[in-house]
Symmetry: C2
Subunit: 420 residues, 2 copies
């Protein structure tokens, strides 16, 4: 009877199951940008991109309930839901991207994207950065860097040094493109060839570096010259978060061949997708008979369509741009001896802290995060050194919410001791 | 305006997107064992195992709506939903299986199972049958046989001849075990070693062969002697369908190390899971930091728990056993010149047809299926030769439904021309 939820998790889910925070939060209710724990304490959600249009948005909930009570099958039968959704979704893309496959997770979508690259190019080498995460399947986890995959990394994978606008300046992206060119040469020499590169257009897990529009152009040229394709993982930047643009790749100004989507796509309902041009889609579809039982089912399509409706009807992309400007200004005014840089990209913010010896202030950032949670604000850290605050609220985040966040952050910065 | 749904699919989803039937059915509504198309025609669903407790079951729909309107986050926060579900789920297992990871699809669950085998054994070779399907990720599709994976099959995979109780009798499973032993030797010689075998305890895609309890014992002994683990893919047999038992492996009488679940688990909500013993879970969890954003979220857990509740409260496992006996008897009474065998395993039925020259009656079976669809009964085919009717209705299938199915099948058999 006295078994805690943490103990129950260990008993039922096994060891090493990740949680957030020293004392994991037990959430029981969500609404808009707010969540509540079992003791009734309210938290401002400055972390979760899954509840993209706000926790438990009534239009998304209604779409799910209505369709779940009417029909939920799969795409081996005809249904207008998946078609209406893909039509609306692909209308947001430029660059000839007009077709999509719906999946249940971003991991599944990236797993397909890797095979699209193989099918379209006839090659198997793949490039990503060395401080990233793209998903959890056996294949996709080869590209993730926090923990090496079981059995060691596949020889057809090359991980290039991640962009870091603060510590390794590369204003026009030529250094990054040089690393990518070297990776292409290595893949060619090893006989794999380069099927493509998989990148987040915000480099969010890498630490949200400040990159000028066009920064990736040289890299894209290297990949195209090698006959590879460019895959944009829009799980974090996409669906209006970038503010000025609906997609991160349009903000950075490059034309991907394949776009991968996940987390925010259906506000928590398990939906992902991979979109591409008809030539790449045909290469994949003709090489492999792909079917996903739950992918694009009527309920998933209804949930995802409701999210697009809400983003449009509530002006959430415009809100992201407006509130981004406000938070960016307030973050620029932050003062702290360890604070080295503040960064923003739409409704996504980073603040990097380093010790005087130039080492990442990992522990200090962890303590900051704990201090914020104690004050009822949920956030976390990113970057290879885990020394960059990760602030990524749901899109209905208001200027008032932003002031609440920044007031609490100023207090916490003042009250958190500097420890090595 | 005159673009058909089929044309729209090709435009938006690309070529080679699988559908059922010569004229794909456009479904708009479901309830219990019935679905309706856009023209109002009603069909008896004798195919779908996803709507396990019946299309749009009100208790499952209510569970989804209630939780979607309250909170939907992920397992980095504490929540009782995922724990309550895993506790209820693992209580149905014997053999020390007491922990689970929730995913969004059976493919994701099998993808984890393959890595559990690698982590628990330190080996990478894997064995499956040569007429199977276990999912759609890059890794899992290596084990599927309908279309070879892009880039060719990985060298650590061995596919052994599938059991076929009609055409290749193997009453005690020693022939199958011999094939598996040979595959183990090949994997050892190639340096991969044998991490395990992945099997459906009904061998459903293989054609639902009639196998005596204990049939797999020799194979399990071969795998254990090789230090490998046994993975039971319960996506089709599980959750009471087998009738006499809740799980297919308990019906066949073997002890798996890992159990994979998917399709029927949450009645269409995207949920899968992989369950195992604590030692195997620890090996996986300590080797790889696995997190699935949507897996085990509060809504998914609520949907899955409602399915377990309905199975218990409506006696659906017992219903499967009772109706199975009725259908089995009626199928045994079927007479047709091409009919070679009828088979059943709980609420899952097969009827195998062959031409006089011993070739599979593939086209005849396709025509039978079309004739049934025209009569308002949905079913399909299985087996390497696509010459075995696949009849796998939702669990609330009644004796009256069964008589409707069998009456239509008798008519269709009488009216379908035999063609080569």
């Amino acid at each position: 009877m006295t078994e805690t939820l943490v103990d129950r998790r260990a008993r039922l889910m096994g060891p090493n199951v990740p949680t957030f925070y020293q004392t994991p939060v037990h959430l029981v209710k969500g609404e808009g940008v707010w969540v509540w724990d079992a003791a009734g304490k309210r938290y401002l959600d400055c972390y979760n991109n899954v509840p993209h249009v706000g926790h438990c948005h009534p239009r998304v909930v209604k779409a799910i309930c209505d369709q779940a009570g009417t029909l939920n099958t799969h795409t081996r039968y005809l249904h207008e839901g998946v078609l209406n959704y893909i039509e609306r979704l692909t209308a947001t893309f430029s660059h000839g991207i007009s077709q999509a496959i719906m999946t249940c997770t971003g991991s599944e979508a990236n797993d397909i994207a890797l095979r699209m690259a193989q099918a379209a190019t006839g090659k198997t080498g793949i490039i990503a950065t060395d401080a990233t995460y793209h998903g959890n399947t056996m294949a996709v986890s080869q590209l993730s860097t926090r923990k090496p995959p079981i059995g060691g990394r596949w020889p057809n994978v090359r991980l290039v040094p991640a962009p870091d606008s603060l510590n390794r300046p590369d204003p026009d992206g030529s250094i990054f493109a040089g690393h990518v060119a070297q990776a292409v040469r290595e893949l060619d020499e090893a006989g794999f060839g380069c099927s493509g590169i998989l990148l987040c257009p915000m480099f969010a897990n890498e630490g949200l570096p400040t990159l000028a529009r066009g920064w990736l152009d040289k890299t894209v040229a290297v990949i195209r010259a090698a006959g590879g394709i460019v895959i944009a993982d829009e799980v974090q930047p996409g669906f209006g978060r970038a503010g000025s643009h609906f997609w991160g790749h349009d903000k950075l100004g490059f034309a991907p061949d394949v776009v991968v989507m996940g987390k925010p796509m259906a506000n928590g309902h398990p939906v992902g997708a991979v979109a591409t041009r008809p030539d790449v889609m045909a290469a994949f579809r003709n090489a492999f008979s792909y079917f996903n039982t739950f992918g694009g089912n009527p309920v998933s399509a209804a949930a995802a369509l409701a999210v697009l409706d809400v983003i449009r009807d509530e002006g959430l992309q415009e809100n992201a741009a407006r509130v981004s400007a406000h938070v960016t200004a307030r973050m620029a005014a932050l003062r702290h001896p360890l604070l080295r840089d503040t960064r923003s990209n739409g409704l996504f913010f980073g603040a990097e802290f380093m010790l005087d010896d130039g080492e990442p202030a990992t522990r200090f950032c962890a303590n900051l995060v704990e201090g914020m949670v104690a004050r009822g604000v949920l956030m976390n850290v990113i970057g290879a050194g885990r020394n960059i605050l990760k602030i990524r609220p749901p899109l209905p985040f208001s200027v008032e919410n932003a002031d609440h966040l920044m007031d609490r952050l100023e207090e916490t910065l003042r009250d958190t001791k500097v420890t090595a």
